[in-house]
């Protein structure tokens, strides 16, 4: 039989294909719209490869199961949407304190509270700023297509293991639900090695995974170690996609579906004679501050996001508030349209010229 690596997949399906090709061994999850297809696909595909799929009794259990599998040195993941991520925060704080690598996928829906199942980007603060207790960070990758949903799990596991850190894939319901043509990556050439620190029969039994440090100085030392790790990640792992930014007077910043919309908006704005560009953060933490700072010629920035304006703070911090940063946003499950972006940018440019 002949196989092809070209396939139509929803973002939510692609992330499981990507995870399996990246050697992910265990998936633990709980159903939630608009992330459920991730669990559906995992339920279909993990057992096909003899790997572990388990529907947990709740979101909290799911992240703790991930903790167990990760402590065992296995590539493990879970997936959810805003409400579920809120519940997982306790576990993510523990994983961070225990320096366990893991992959968490968040397909954002509209909040607060039960909200609705429409897409939003309002988990930014709870994911990028660390929604649990303690001083910790997770690496946050933001896919903006089914192809990136498929490609990023490999990068996520590599980063997670390199830095012993939780890596999120953070995107919105539109990217999760949209089916697109995907070129499947090659499978890992061999099973990922069990790390030296793992609680595995192949490792010394003195290995211990804990986040309790009774002595204040010991806990401070752990915190300092974590912070120096985060500094290293900030220095080395910023990623973004830039589109027509080099001569841009006005730079749109957006991730997930907003980034896609901005790309189309940039073309329309350029056609109207407005020198617009797009910077699409691929890592939301670390935020691509170096790339933003390099855009010295830009006169204004515009954050485009489906929230009250959460990422906009990071844009302002990146440029030390030395130029205006505007917000174009929708909430409640509404998707910003390209028209709206073009109209608002045109207004902003017009207001400046007037």
């Amino acid at each position: 039989m002949e196989y092809t690596n070209r396939i139509l997949l929803k973002g939510n399906e692609a992330v499981i294909y990507g995870a399996l090709l990246a050697g992910c061994e265990c998936f633990f999850g709980y159903p939630i719209t608009p992330a459920s297809e991730i669990a559906h696909t995992a339920a279909r595909c993990f057992p096909k490869l003899g790997r572990t799929f388990l529907q947990a009794e709740c979101e909290i259990a799911a992240i703790n199961m991930v903790m167990g599998a990760a402590a065992n040195g296995r590539r493990a993941m879970t997936a959810s949407s805003g409400l579920g991520i809120s519940l997982k925060q306790e576990g993510i704080s523990y994983l961070s304190g225990e320096e366990l690598p893991a992959l968490v996928v968040d397909i954002m829906r509209a909040g607060p509270g039960l909200g609705n199942i429409g897409p939003e980007q309002s988990d930014y603060n709870q994911v990028v700023k660390g929604g649990g207790h303690g001083s910790y960070h997770c690496i946050v990758l933001s896919p903006a297509s089914a192809q990136e949903m498929c490609d990023f799990p490999l990068l996520a596991f590599e980063l997670a293991e390199k830095y012993r850190i939780v890596v999120y894939l953070l995107t919105d319901g539109v990217i999760g639900q949209t089916m697109e043509t995907v070129t499947l990556p090659e499978p890992l050439s061999k099973r990922a090695e069990v790390p030296a620190w793992a609680l595995d029969v192949s490792r010394p039994r003195t290995n211990l995974i804990s986040s309790i440090y009774l002595e204040h100085d010991d806990l401070e030392a752990l915190n300092k170690k974590l912070q120096s790790k985060y500094a290293e990640i900030r220095a080395n792992e910023q990623r973004c996609e830039e589109y027509k930014t080099q001569d841009a007077d006005i730079v749109l910043v957006g991730y997930g579906i907003s980034g896609r919309l901005c790309r189309s908006a940039v073309d329309e704005l350029r056609a109207k004679g407005i020198k617009a560009g797009l910077l699409r953060p691929i890592t939301l933490w670390p935020f691509p501050v170096d790339a933003i700072r390099a855009l010295g010629q830009a006169k204004e920035f515009i954050a485009v996001e489906m929230s009250d304006g959460q990422m906009i703070d990071d844009v302002k911090l990146a440029i030390n508030c030395d130029r205006p940063v505007h917000l174009i946003n929708r909430m409640g499950g509404n998707i910003t349209t390209i028209d709206e972006i073009v109209k608002r940018v045109t207004e902003i440019v017009g207001a400046k010229e007037a």
Binding site: E2, Y3, T4, N5, I7, L8, L20, L21, E25, C26, T33, P34, K48, L49, G50, R51, T52, A56, E57, I60, A61, N64, M65, M67, G68, A69, A71, R74, E90, G91, Y94, E98, I117, S145, G173, Q177, T178, E180, T181, L184, E186, P187, L188, S189, K190, L199, D200, V201, R205, L208, I209, S210, S211, I212, I257, R260, L261, T337, I338, D339
Partner: protein, 492 residues
């Protein structure tokens, strides 16, 4: 001078020196005098040493007084969040079935904040040995009420004594777990008299044996003293355990069916790249075209945005999927975005399809669409405003003629649903609609070579979707050509 001889020393399951314990004291435990934890630790340590399983035993430390159990046990250790040990244990046990996982939990941890986790792990029959310390009080946090606190018992949070009308009755964990089908072994013991401790020792060994034999879930509940928080001396403590607690929590075996159970058999993961590819990559069903192939017709040079709508159950989403598949097979970038969630469960269904040679911006088609496929009138009315002024409408007129007010548009119609029913199944309406698309495309847009290719790519797409069902492929192809024959443009 006679030589010093150790007749009964520290168990081999413990570290010889407790280096992990902060502070100067490295030889004894942090537990209070008279506490049951020390006894239980010793029974477990002896068992894992005697069974020779230290290299694959992982003890999960709970939140509670035993949070520091990893100071002592010479085996793998992990701290779990409060109450979550059974979930962490599930992860460990599933990740590698060779792991022997001990979940060590107190009454606040297991029976209060984590009660759902223990019941669910028990009910799944996870291969765990759970040792549950029931001392009727929260020890670590300073003597508050536990779910197992006895009626009338005074604690920091029941200063007048536990009132059954307010705080309810002591929670019976062993009875509850034993009522489930999956667990293989449940016993309640007491760490009071020597005789009872010896019984607990056997119970612990039995639970561990079940784990070694992969028989599944075992729970041993241990009534245990907390003289400091209960403000009792050793004698009163034993009296409390044996007479007062045991009245609410009768000792004994609640379930023991390990002998009748087969060992848990978990699959072995497949990682060999060739095997992974074979299991995960889709089968190539059509010869198709080379990667560099591009349909020459001008229509394909810019992005084409298509909206499909109808009522739930009409197959709108699969019609969109077929179009997307055709695009995929001709090397387009395609996106397909369905309406999702409750909207699908009754009412109108719609999806957006975009085909482009370039990266696709928005996959949402909510305006300026080039082609609208409407399968009924309400959907047509709802989505007509999204159609570009020169956009084309395809309409299934099975449920009524195309409304007059749209007649200035370029419209192709076909009674697709009626014709599909005549062919034997409403499902064929989609392929008939695609036949109508073919007619429209050939009339208006396609070069000669692309006209024939449209039929070819349709057949490839049908194969791509249904290659395992020969008759479905055959009937859909038939439906497509019926659609092609019957579709007509409304001339206005």
């Amino acid at each position: 001078m006679s030589e010093e001889k150790v007749i009964f020393g520290r168990s081999g399951g413990f570290f010889p020196v407790f280096e992990r314990r902060p502070g100067p004291i490295k030889s004894n435990m942090h537990y209070c005098p008279g506490c049951g934890h020390g006894i239980l630790h010793k029974l477990i340590a002896e068992a894992i040493a005697d069974f020779g399983i230290q290299d694959k035993t992982i003890i999960i430390a709970p939140v509670g007084c035993a949070v520091f159990s990893y100071y002592y046990f010479d085996c793998f250790g992990i701290s779990a969040p409060h109450g979550r040990a059974p979930a962490v244990g599930t992860g460990l046990a599933r990740a590698n079935p060779d792991n022997l996982v001990i979940s060590y939990q107190g009454d606040g941890d297991l029976a209060s904040i984590g009660f759902n986790h223990i019941l669910q792990a028990a009910n799944r029959g996870e291969n765990l040995a759970v040792f549950f310390v029931n001392n009727a009080i929260y020890g670590m946090t300073g003597g508050q009420m536990a779910p197992t606190t006895l009626p009338g018992q005074k604690t920091q949070t029941t200063p007048l004594g536990r009132s059954v009308s307010s705080e309810g009755y002591p929670l019976k964990v062993s009875e509850t777990v034993a009522a489930l089908d999956a667990p293989v072994y449940v016993e309640r013991c007491a760490l009071s008299t020597v005789q009872k401790i010896r019984k607990a020792r056997l119970a612990i060994r039995k639970a561990l044996t079940n784990s070694i034999e992969r028989k599944g879930f075992s729970l041993v509940e241990l009534l245990s003293g907390c003289p400091v928080n209960l403000k009792m001396n050793a004698q009163d403590m034993n009296e409390f355990l044996d007479n007062q607690m045991s009245r609410y929590f009768p000792l004994g075996v609640y379930k023991d069916i390990a002998d009748s159970r087969d060992p848990i058999n978990r699959p072995v993961g497949i990682y060999q790249p060739e095997a992974v590819r074979e299991l995960l990559y889709p089968v190539r069903v059509a010869d198709g075209v080379s990667e560099s192939f591009r349909n020459p017709s001008r229509i394909f040079q810019s992005e084409r945005r298509i909206k499909l709508c109808g009522s739930g159950g009409q197959g709108v989403l699969s019609l969109g999927y077929m179009l997307a598949t055709m695009g995929k097979l001709r090397n387009f970038n395609v996106s397909w975005l369905p309406s999702y969630g409750p909207e699908m469960r009754g009412g109108t269904a719609n999806c957006s399809v975009v085909l482009s040679r370039d990266p696709i911006g928005s996959p949402v088609v909510d305006k300026e669409c080039n082609l609208l496929l409407a399968l009924n009138q309400p959907a047509l009315e709802k989505y007509l405003p999204t159609l570009k002024s020169n956009g084309i409408l395809l309409y299934d007129e099975s449920n009524g003629k195309c409304p007059d007010e749209v007649l200035e548009r370029v419209i192709y119609t076909l009674p697709a649903s009626d014709l599909a029913k005549q062919l034997g199944d409403l499902k064929y309406a989609n392929s008939m609609m695609l036949g109508a698309v073919a007619v429209m495309m050939c009339d208006l847009f396609l070069d000669e070579e692309d006209k024939a290719d449209f039929d070819r790519v349709f057949e490839e797409a049908i194969m791509d979707c249904f290659h395992e069902k020969e008759h479905v492929v055959k009937n859909n192809i038939k439906a497509f050509y019926i659609g092609k024959a019957k579709a007509k443009r409304i001339r206005n």
